[in-house]
């Protein structure tokens, strides 16, 4: 595994330092310029806009707030109790999905990490939820499964449990969103942990078995330490992407009731495309970027550490 990492592979090939190389290393320039244009330029503009009072509904309001009032968008947001609810929603949603998908993802990965008839088909079935278009997953859950009169849950409540049908989206909106998103992200964690389990060298497992290690000690002392990097990568990537969950909320609850399922991306969507408040939406965007960057910096550290290990 580690030996096929980029750095390791190139070091075995002699780096050609010819004049050809001097020119060809610039083949990466178009990609870098393009990425700067579509990601860094908008990022810089977000920062700039967050210090303006620009509102598309008030064409005159395009300007910088002024040095004395430049933080107004931020102070308005921070002094709004809704912001803290939205921030909590974002963190609670992400945290719950990460925990649930880790528990079930680990379970599925362990179950799949044994040869048995039907393993390939089980694996294929288990990864499928991740491939479902998020908005399609959302309408399927909302209308076909959870709908209180026509959904399958109505049958479960009335015929199986023998109680009144309950509309879970109404009773527990946040938990419904967490459930749907977790259903989609369990396979993601499972796939990465399975790759980790399958890279565990056979000799180590056999040696530990010879030493008389039971399944539990084996898992805690051998499997888990080996999986550490895979767990870190899976969970940090998941945090980054689940922080940006939007489609499921848009379809299932529209952020409601009230703001009970509004997360940062949904709030930014409302500020920008319902209130047309470019300045305020950008200031919210800065908070979204800060959150994602915390996870991203940790992730890049893991990747860098792993690449350094790969060269040794």
């Amino acid at each position: 595994m580690a030996s096929s990492q980029p750095t390791a592979a190139t070091q075995s090939a002699p780096a050609p330092r010819s004049r050809v190389g001097e020119r060809r290393k610039f083949l990466s320039a178009p990609a870098i310029v393009f990425l700067i244009a579509v990601t860094q330029v908008p990022f810089a503009m977000t920062i700039w806009y967050s210090f303006t009072n620009w509102n598309l509904l008030r064409p005159a309001s395009t300007g910088f707030l002024g040095w004395d009032r430049m933080w107004r968008n931020f102070s308005r947001i921070l002094s709004n109790p809704d912001f803290w609810t939205i921030l909590w929603n974002t963190l609670f949603l992400t945290g719950s999905v990460v925990v649930l998908s880790f528990v079930f993802g680990m379970m599925f990965a362990l179950l799949l990490n044994r040869p048995f008839p039907g393993r390939a088909i089980a694996r294929t079935m288990l990864i499928s939820p991740f491939l479902v278009m998020p908005v399609a997953a959302a309408i399927v859950w909302k209308f076909l499964l959870l709908d209180p009169s026509n959904g399958l849950s109505a049958w479960v409540f009335r015929s199986v449990l023998g109680i009144q049908s309950v509309y879970l989206v109404e009773v527990a909106p946040m938990l419904s969103i967490i459930g749907i998103v977790s259903w989609q992200w369990i396979p993601f964690v499972m796939l990465i942990l399975l790759a980790g389990l399958q890279s565990l060298p056979e000799e180590i497992v056999e040696a530990a078995q010879l030493d008389g290690a039971g399944p539990l000690r084996m898992f805690v002392n051998i499997t888990l330490p080996h999986l550490r990097r895979f767990i870190e990568i899976a969970l940090l990537l998941e945090v980054i992407f689940v922080l940006s969950i939007f489609g499921q909320i848009f379809v299932v609850t529209s952020g409601g009731p009230g703001i009970r399922t509004t997360n940062l991306p949904y709030q930014i969507f409302l500020e920008a495309f319902s209130s047309f408040n470019i300045g305020r939406a950008s200031a919210y965007g800065i908070f979204a970027i800060i959150l994602a960057n915390i996870a991203m910096i940790l992730f890049l550290q893991v990747v860098r550490r792993h690449r350094l290990e790969g060269t040794s």
């Binding site: 096929s4 089980a122 399944p215 965007g285």
Partner: protein
């Protein structure tokens, strides 16, 4: 590892059962798409029934599904090609002409993929408005190419580094120029890798919703936007048609994912896990 055959078989059955539970919502959606509308809301829900293709005919020929699918196809293919066009040369430089800055550039590219879409949607909207890109295919092609470019660079760099450098040296001794070296030596060997990379880019692009819904209104909207419009459907008689449309939207990517299974992990972690 587990010696008792009873325990082993119990675990096998449990695994298959859990796998069935996980994929059940998808199966239920496909099943519902072949019901009549009245059958779709029947209580108790029917598992066995005479399938009808009425909803599919309705959804495909009487609805706007094909238009949206055409948009999705155009945007997906266009953005994947653009990402390959920019990303493969970059990967070539990263794999064979490393400099002190290559590692930093690679990590920086990866970091751009992790920028939250909500953090840049406002300026993108403004830029699109100024450049007349709102509700155009070209606009989404540019954004999605940017989204997939880091993936392409990371994956293709990995595939190139797995190739023996001696092959390239041999081609150079024969006097091959850059294009000959690429088209005659690298491309045939990279074929499967490029295919896997393209499939993964296709999956991400096809399913994307946030940029799509905010940067298009109707003419260039992809399938994901169309599927989301069912959220405000009223009345009881749309479940089967909705299921047909959703199945049509989900199935191509699901098949692509099954085909690219082996590369899924590499793609999802951008090469951090192989």
């Amino acid at each position: 590892m587990i010696r008792s055959p009873v325990l082993r078989w119990t675990l096998n059955v449990v695994t298959l059962l859990l796998a069935f539970v996980m994929i059940f919502p998808v199966l239920w959606m496909v099943l519902t798409s072949f019901k009549t509308e009245t059958m779709a809301i029947a209580f108790p829900p029917r598992l066995f029934f005479t399938p009808t293709f009425e909803n599919w005919v309705q959804a495909v020929f009487n609805g706007p599904l094909l238009e949206f699918m055409g948009n999705t196809a155009l945007i997906t293919v266009g953005s994947t090609l653009l990402a390959l066009l920019l990303g493969v040369p970059a990967a070539y430089a990263m794999a064979f002409y490393r400099t002190d800055r290559s590692d930093g550039s690679m990590l920086w590219m990866m970091s751009t993929r992790m920028l939250p879409p909500a953090g840049v949607i406002v300026p993108l909207f403004v830029l699109f408005r100024n450049f007349n890109l709102l509700d155009t295919h070209l606009g989404l092609i540019i954004v999605f190419a940017g989204m997939n470019l880091p993936l392409v660079v990371w994956m293709v760099t990995g595939f190139m580094e797995d190739l023996p450098f001696a092959l390239i040296e041999a081609a150079r001794l024969d006097g091959a120029n850059l294009w000959q070296e690429f088209s005659a030596v690298l491309l045939p060997l990279l074929g499967p890798g490029l295919a896997a990379t393209s499939l993964l880019a296709l999956i991400f692009t096809w399913n994307e919703f946030f940029f799509a819904v905010n940067l298009t209104t109707r003419d260039a909207s992809p399938l994901s936007v169309y599927v989301s419009t069912f959220k405000s459907a009223y009345g009881d008689l749309f479940l089967a048609k909705m299921s047909a449309a959703a199945t049509a939207a989900v199935l191509p990517v699901m098949i692509a994912g099954w085909v690219a299974q082996r590369h899924l992990v590499t793609g999802l972690t951008m090469g951090a896990v192989k």
